[in-house]
Point group: C2
Chain length 169, copies 2
């Protein structure tokens, strides 16, 4: 049995460093793929990295300070589509929201844990599940392209002190 490990951010983790690392990884990733890491894309990713909650597109829009004006939805969607296509962002289907990927190495199969109270989400490598799904698909003659695996419940912090207070962070 593996050590207990919370995939949720520690309460006093170095958040600045965490954002910086995400941006540097993105930088490198774009470099190596030879794609452009433009201002829009950069800003959207920064906003997502700054928050450990998946953000909805309109939430991103509101936080987006764009020389006074606000961007249109499609501009955000385009940036997200790009970021998702190279694995820097994940879409959480059960929340219609987007989460910055905080695990540099690509996962074979990912389970997202979504806290229903504080709304934070964590990604967990779940390679075992890939085999099960692949088998089930194969046995029913289904050609598997992709999968969505999301769990909803309470994160470690909210489990212990599920007060309304925590819902705000």
């Amino acid at each position: 049995m593996p050590m207990k490990k919370t995939y949720f951010p520690e309460r006093q983790h170095d958040h600045e460093a965490c954002i910086l690392a995400g941006m540097e990884h993105a930088e490198a990733e774009c470099e190596s793929r030879n794609v452009r890491f433009t201002e829009n894309r950069r800003s959207v990713l920064e906003l997502l990295l700054a928050d450990h909650r998946p953000l909805g597109v309109y939430e991103i829009m509101e936080q987006f300070d764009w020389k006074g004006r606000r961007p249109a939805p499609s501009q955000i969607y385009r940036a997200l589509e790009f970021l998702e296509s190279i694995g820097l962002v994940h879409r959480i289907e059960s929340s219609n929201a987007y989460l910055a990927c905080n695990r540099p190495g690509r996962h074979r199969c990912t389970l997202f844990l979504v806290c229903e109270l504080c709304k934070k989400a964590a990604e967990v490598e779940a390679g075992q599940m890939q085999d099960v799904i692949t088998d089930l698909a194969k046995h029913s003659g289904f050609e598997l392209h992709s999968q969505v695996i999301e769990a909803r419940g309470l994160c470690p912090e909210c489990t212990h002190a599920p007060t309304p207070d925590e819902a705000g962070h």
Copy 2:
């Protein structure tokens, strides 16, 4: 290795019987739970049973013949909420759509296979996955409430003859 079994409806299955069985099961389920199986709820379930594709709410609305007029979205949502609450209907998160449950016995853990071409969906019992998810959640101190497991790809029929024709059904 289990026998190959497609969880998708056979091309020439007895669809009338399949709808009827679904309605009878619903009837019995409501009876035993002592809840009302009203006209609205009945109609929505019938429409879902008649189609092996998950239907969006507005698609249901359009098909809903309601003495000439059309019902409002909230009426459909209410019926769906009810049907879902007693396990007669499932929501497919990655399609924002609803599927009639065609397996009478409650599943411990369900994987939905969604065909990206013909849009049909199948539910597959996936008990093995429950243990994996439960374990992963436990190890990260997460209190699990529910989960979403959906696979996207091509159903057996569309894998073999993925012509545009099939997309219509």
